[in-house]
C-alpha cells in the first residue's frame, strides 16, 4: 500500500521526542502493519487507517508503538473474522454438493434402461428437509454422540429393510423414539420398502407395518410395477454426513469398481445387494455382512483410497419422498437412513 500524500505531521505540531520516528519510518511501519490485514479489508479501509494512524502519531495522540500494536491487534481480529467467514462459506457448497450428488449425480452415473430424461429430472428434484444437528439422542444413559447419515437415491426394484446390526433406539427432540437407521438394500422385483419407524412421513401409496418393514408391495394397484433385477443399478452410492466437523476425524472413502464394495471407515459398508451402516464410535462391534471387508482396510489390489469426505455441519433427515415417474411408477426415492453412535 502506498503511503497517502499529505500524511506528514501538521505544521506547527511537534511529535513527542523519542516516540515518533521520521515520517518516512512512520509510513513504513504503518504500511507493514496494514499488510497484515485481509486484502479486501485493506483495499476498503487501508488508506483511511494509514492516514489516521499517521495523524494520531503526528498529533501526539498516540505513539508509534501503540499505533502499531493497535493495528496488529486489529489485523488479527479481521483475519479471524475473514477465516470464520470463509469456513462458513466452505460448508455450504459441501452440503449442496452432497445433496445434489445424492439426487442427480449418482443416479445419472449409470444408465438405466427404463430411465428417461423425465425420470432423471425427477431425481434431481428430490429434496431432503434438514434436521438440526444434535436432534437425535441415543436412547438410554450416556452422552449424545454424532450420528452418520446415508443418502441413497433408491431405484425401483430395490428393497430397503432393516439390516441385522446392533440393537438400539434413537430419541428425537420431539420425544419420539425410533430404531437405529440400519438398512439393507436388496434387489427385488418390487419397488422400495422401508421401516416406518425411522421415516417420519410415509410415502404416498405405502402401507405401514409398525415396527417392521414397510412395503409398498401392497400399495394401490397400478401404481407399482415389477422391475427386472438386471435393470437395477449395481452400485449403491452412499455418503456419510457426520453431525459435526471433527478435525482429524474426517472419514476417508474407498473407491471401487462398480458393483463392488464401497467402504467408509467408521461409516458405511455397501454392496450391490446389501447396505449396512456402522455407527462410528458405537462402542460395540458390528459383525460385517458376509464378504464384507473391515472398515479402514482395502479389499485388495485395484482398490484405492479416495479423497476425504467433506463433513458439513448439518445432518440430513430421515426422509423418504417418492417422485412420480412415467405411468405413476416411483422413479426415485430419496432415502436418508441415520446411524447413531
Amino acid at each position: 500500500m502506498s503511503p497517502q500524500p499529505g500524511t506528514s505531521p501538521q505544521p506547527g505540531t511537534s511529535p513527542q521526542p523519542g516516540t515518533s520516528p521520521q515520517p518516512g519510518g512512520r509510513r513504513r511501519m504503518v504500511r507493514w502493519t496494514l499488510a497484515l490485514y485481509p486484502r479486501a479489508w485493506r483495499a476498503r479501509y487501508g488508506s483511511e487507517v494509514a492516514s489516521l494512524s499517521e495523524e494520531l502519531i503526528a498529533e501526539g495522540d498516540s505513539t508509534p508503538w501503540r499505533a502499531g500494536l493497535d493495528l496488529i491487534t486489529g489485523a488479527a481480529v479481521e483475519r479471524g473474522r475473514a477465516l470464520a467467514k470463509s469456513r462458513r462459506i466452505a460448508v455450504v457448497p459441501a452440503v449442496a454438493v452432497l445433496v445434489a450428488a445424492a439426487g442427480t449425480g449418482w443416479a445419472l452415473d449409470r444408465p438405466h434402461p427404463a430411465r428417461t430424461s423425465t425420470q432423471a429430472a425427477s431425481l434431481a428434484s428430490v429434496r431432503c428437509s434438514p434436521v438440526p444437528a444434535g436432534a437425535v439422542r441415543v436412547h438410554g444413559p450416556g452422552p449424545a454422540r454424532p450420528r452418520s447419515s446415508v443418502v441413497i437415491p433408491a431405484q425401483p426394484g430395490w428393497k430397503l429393510s432393516r439390516a441385522p446390526g446392533p440393537a438400539g433406539q434413537v430419541r428425537l427432540k420431539t420425544g419420539q423414539v425410533r430404531p437405529k437407521g440400519i438398512w439393507c438394500i436388496t434387489r427385488l422385483p418390487m419397488p422400495c420398502a422401508a421401516s416406518r419407524a425411522s421415516l417420519p412421513r410415509p410415502p404416498a401409496g405405502t402401507r405401514a407395518l409398525p415396527g417392521r418393514l414397510r412395503s409398498i408391495r401392497g400399495g394401490p394397484p397400478g401404481r407399482l410395477a415389477p422391475v427386472r433385477p438386471r435393470t437395477v443399478p449395481a452400485q449403491v452410492r452412499p455418503r456419510t454426513v457426520p453431525a459435526q466437523v471433527r478435525p482429524g476425524a474426517v472419514p476417508a472413502q474407498v473407491r471401487s469398481a462398480p458393483g463392488r464394495w464401497r467402504v467408509v471407515p467408521g461409516g458405511i459398508m455397501v454392496t450391490p445387494g446389501r447396505c449396512i451402516v456402522l455407527p462410528p464410535r458405537c462402542g460395540k462391534k458390528v459383525a460385517p455382512p458376509r464378504g464384507a471387508i473391515r472398515a479402514g482396510s482395502l479389499p485388495g489390489p485395484g482398490w484405492t483410497p479416495g479423497p476425504p469426505l467433506r463433513t458439513p455441519a448439518t445432518l440430513r433427515p430421515a426422509t423418504l419422498r417418492p417422485v412420480p415417474g412415467p405411468a405413476g411408477i416411483p422413479a426415485a426415492v430419496c432415502v436418508v437412513a441415520a446411524g447413531v453412535a
Binding site: 497517502q4 479501509y45 488508506s47 487507517v49 498516540s62 493497535d70 493495528l71 491487534t73 489485523a75
Partner: protein, 105 residues
Amino acid sequence: MTGDSLRGSSDRSILILTSLAGSPRHGYALIKDIQGFAGVTLGAGTLYGALAKLEQAGLVAALPADERRRPYQITEAGREHLRARLAESARIASIGLARIAAASS
C-alpha cells in the same frame, strides 16, 4: 461511565454510534469526540474495525471522501439500534442504582 466499563466491540460500536448521532465525522474527529465524552481513546485499527462492522451491518454509511478523510454518518437503522441499546442500558442502570440505594438505606 468510565473507560473500564466501555470495553468490548459492542461498547465500541455504541460509542461510535453515539458520536455519529450528532453529526457525520471522520476518523480523527470520532476519536477526539469519543475521548471527550467517554474518556476512551480508540486506536485507528480499533476504530476502523468497529466502523467496518457497523458499515457492513448498515448502521453507518461512508460519505464521499473529503481530501484524505472520509466522514461517516449514522443511518436510520443505526439510530434505531442506538436508541434501543441506550434505552436498555438506561433501564439496567436505573435498576442497579435503585438497588444500590435500597441497600445503602
